[in-house]
């Protein structure tokens, strides 16, 4: 228990007779990237939504850093250290890239309710935001409206928004979807660097990226975890090959 920062037990969610997640038990250790893979519709994104609190679970518990957060709201969970990206890019379209990052820094720096000081004069916030933009290789596009960014750059910005929160754990939902090779490599290097501060629960369909990054992999199918293990163990698991990989890697 001591080496687990996030511990999910028996988390379930049903819509009528359809079980989207079925007594899922999964954990995230300090310093690790735990990948969650599975076919489309297996329940991966719903699990993320349950962890962040935007979808209410039916039963189960969520422990973050030895604190039971099961009954907290989505905002409370974000405040105490759960940071996410969305499966479909979710940014503030009319804000510039840097303003998106600054927005993400507001709560941590207790500036949300600062009313009469121009946010653009806050050099500390913008300096921190610039550092994050540099990490995600968007420095040159800092003043471009987020709606004008390419799909790949929006995915990077999503990750930047999560980084800005300096959370206890990251939940990344397909962060590399639509990225070109250099973008994917940038993400892989970035994730390797940040996991020691904040471990990552990663949903990803790019198996090369998953196998390059993950310390452990869990496979979900029809809302159930069917296997958990190291990359090698998952590669050799026949059930996993049947339900998801479909071939030997």
């Amino acid at each position: 228990m001591k080496n687990k920062i996030l511990n999910i037990k028996n988390l379930s969610k049903s819509y009528g007779a359809f079980k989207v997640t079925d007594e899922i038990t999964i954990d995230l250790h300090f310093d690790e990237i735990h990948a969650l893979i599975g076919p489309n519709g297996a329940g991966k994104s719903t699990l993320i939504k349950q962890i962040v609190g935007s979808v209410k679970h039916d039963i189960g518990s969520i422990i973050l850093d030895q604190e039971d957060i099961t009954d907290l709201t989505d905002v409370e969970r974000a405040k105490i250290g759960i940071s996410r990206t969305f499966q479909v890019s979710s940014i503030i379209p009319q804000f510039s890239a840097i303003d998106n990052i600054v927005l993400s820094l507001l709560d941590k720096s207790s500036k949300t309710f600062q009313m009469f000081k121009s946010v653009r004069n806050n050099k500390g916030l913008y300096s921190n935001a610039n550092k994050i933009l540099k990490e995600i290789e968007l420095s040159e596009k800092s003043d471009i409206s987020a709606s004008d960014l390419s799909h790949g750059d929006r995915r990077k910005l999503e990750v930047g928004l999560a980084l800005a929160m300096d959370p206890k754990v990251f939940l990344f939902d397909e962060p590399m979807a639509g990225l070109d090779e250099s973008g994917t490599n940038m993400m892989i290097n970035l994730f390797k660097k940040i996991k020691s501060n904040s471990p990552i629960l990663l949903i990803e369909h790019d198996m090369d990226a998953v196998f390059a990054l993950a310390d452990r992999v869990s496979v979900i199918n029809y809302g159930k975890i069917v296997a958990t293990g190291t990359v090698d163990e998952i590669r050799k698991n026949e059930l996993v090959r049947d339900v998801y990989l479909g071939y030997e890697i």
Binding site: V52, S54, D74, V75, A78, K79, S83, R84, F86, S90, I91, I92, P93, Q94, F95, D99, V102, L103, S104, L106, D107, K108, K111, T112, F113, Q114, M115, F116, K117, S118, V119, R120, N122, L125, L161, A164, M165
Partner: protein
């Protein structure tokens, strides 16, 4: 945007010039008309904070406008008639001092906005619109059925409320008081819009789920915006009662909420000076077309349709487009 800023400055120049010209040429009617534009502009700026910048489509801002108006009217009515207003928890006979009335209007508008906001902000979309409308209509029917203060006939106050050493009965002086309030409201709104808080509520309008995910308590932010918006509109209601020396339930009606919304849409949603331009345009239409037909709103409807189809972001956006062509 630069052209829009120049235009905004011209608006302020006009707001100084027109009443002064009215005074020089002894046409107090134009001073009163411009005063009305300024007051309704303040009401619109209040709504614009909630609707334009935060995406809260309130169809019940008449509640704040009317409350500000009635608080002013009732306090003044008791003071002018030397009638006891209430005797518990303290004895008071109202007040006809603007410096006393304004803080009471601010507090009561804030309290009403807090109550309405706490209940309505749990909903979104059409439900939010309906709840805000329902609150305003409840107040409207309450005012109609309250005979102590004129009921349906409304309440007249014989003297405009006073400020120390200032003759508020003079149209130009009262206009300048309203103009001061307009400048204060514009200053405060500009500060809010450009602040961290402003960044949060403008982001909520675009993507609330994302704002929640970065740990910002969107309910609190929206509630605070709604309260500030209610206070500004309440203040406008107070000035409106002093302008007319009369208040009636009609200012609590849904039509008033609709008119304030029209000022915002006409001038430009989420543009600081938009509601002021919208209010001016509305009053000019009322005064010109109203001379030909009492159903002048037909033409207003037509203009609104054309604007929404072809301009969409309000009269002020025309000046933004002009800059793009210039480039």
């Amino acid at each position: 945007m630069i052209v829009e800023k120049i235009f905004n400055k011209w608006i302020l120049v006009f707001l100084f010039l027109i009443p002064v010209l009215g005074f020089i040429f002894e046409e107090p009617y134009y001073i009163t008309l411009t005063t009305k534009v300024v007051i309704l502009g303040i009401a619109g700026i209040g709504l614009n904070l909630a609707l334009g910048y935060c995406g809260l489509i309130s169809f019940g801002h008449a509640a704040f406008f009317g409350l500000g108006g009635y608080v002013t009217g009732i306090l003044s009515f008791h003071a002018l008639n030397s009638e006891l207003m209430f005797s518990w928890p303290f004895v008071t006979s109202g007040s006809s001092e603007m410096l006393v009335i304004w803080p009471i209007v601010i507090l009561s508008s804030a309290f009403l906005a807090l109550i309405i906001g706490l209940l309505s902000l749990r909903t979104t979309g059409v439900y939010f619109i309906m709840i805000t409308l329902a609150f305003a209509q409840m107040l409207y029917f309450f005012a109609i059925s309250w005979p102590n203060y004129g009921g349906e006939d409304g309440l007249s106050i014989y003297m405009r409320n006073s400020l120390p050493m200032i003759n508020t009965m003079d149209p130009l002086t009262f206009y300048l008081i309203c103009l001061c309030w307009l400048l204060i409201v514009i200053f405060i709104s500009a500060k809010l819009i450009n602040s961290s808080f402003g960044m949060a509520f403008q982001a909520i309008k675009q993507n609330e789920e994302r704002v929640k995910s970065v740990g910002i308590e969107t309910f609190k932010v929206k509630l605070l915006v709604f309260v500030i918006s209610g206070i500004i509109t309440g203040l406008a209601g107070s000035l409106y009662t002093d302008l007319n020396r009369f208040i009636s339930p009609s200012v609590l009606n849904w039509q008033m909420s609709g008119e304030i919304m029209v000022f915002v849409i006409l001038g430009g949603i989420a543009r600081l000076y938009g509601p002021l331009v919208g209010a001016a345009f509305f009053i000019v239409l009322e005064q010109t077309l109203g001379g030909y037909t009492e159903n002048w709103q037909f033409w207003l409807g037509l203009i609104l349709i054309l604007e929404i189809l072809y301009v969409r972001t309000g009269i002020l956006s025309l000046f933004e487009k002009k800059l793009k062509y210039e480039k």
